[in-house]
Symmetry: C2
Subunit: 105 residues, 2 copies
DNA sequence: CAGGCATATAACCGGGAAGGCATGTTGTGA
DNA sequence: TCACAACATGCCTTCCCGGTTATATGCCTG
């Protein structure tokens, strides 16, 4: 499972890409809108969108001459699932601490 | 907030580093043990551990000649918090779908 | 069908990061 | 104090990745 998650993290480990997602979180966006808001060249934005789409984070739809991009939630769910492994670790730690404090009383 | 999270993602977007965390999730480990299990040179492992520690994912403790590394849960909590933003989006989507289905009946 | 948008792709360049080797540092035991 | 063991660090090379410029593709309008 980690095998897939590594790629997802690599995709998110890029400031421009995370900014794109943050914008898309508010509403769907055309490429041009993203170019304006990010102050980046259009090819750069298109490349990042390609990476994000290959990783499943976004999907695109055609509207006349423009492509509208939208967030796709599944990869985020996978990440949350992966993180849960470590959350359990954290929970166990708290439980142990709690039991320890109970014993103290 | 995203500013900090990007760095965390960049750190996790590295197969060797994720493998190290997976090993540390089971139990604390010395550098030598990690070297054996990962089949990587010792300097490479040490460097990755440095990156992980700078990012707060692990901490180290001295035991005789060796340093024992352990997972530190806080950064994972931050990631979960960041992901929650997108989970809300997902939940809203489900809610809308549910309302829509209710209306259909 | 010609011309102009909106976007994708190609070719290229520069910086940065991961890995290996050699070496420095610190603690330990005789 | 000497030698060794466990790590850390510096240096070097290689490779990948993000950005820009230039060009191709596809779709609307006149």
């Amino acid at each position: 499972m980690s095998v897939a998650v590594v790629g997802a993290f690599a995709v998110l480990g890029e400031p421009s890409r995370l900014r794109i997602l943050d914008h898309l979180r508010g509403a769907e966006c055309s490429v041009g809108e993203l170019v304006d808001r990010l102050g980046m060249s259009q090819p750069a934005v298109s490349k990042h969108l390609r990476v994000l789409r290959d990783a499943g984070f976004v999907s695109s739809r055609v509207a006349a001459q423009q492509r509208i991009y939208r967030i796709e939630p599944e990869p985020f769910a996978e990440l949350e699932h992966w993180l849960a492994q470590y959350r359990r670790l954290w929970d166990r730690h708290l439980d142990a601490l709690e039991r320890h404090l109970d014993d103290q009383e």
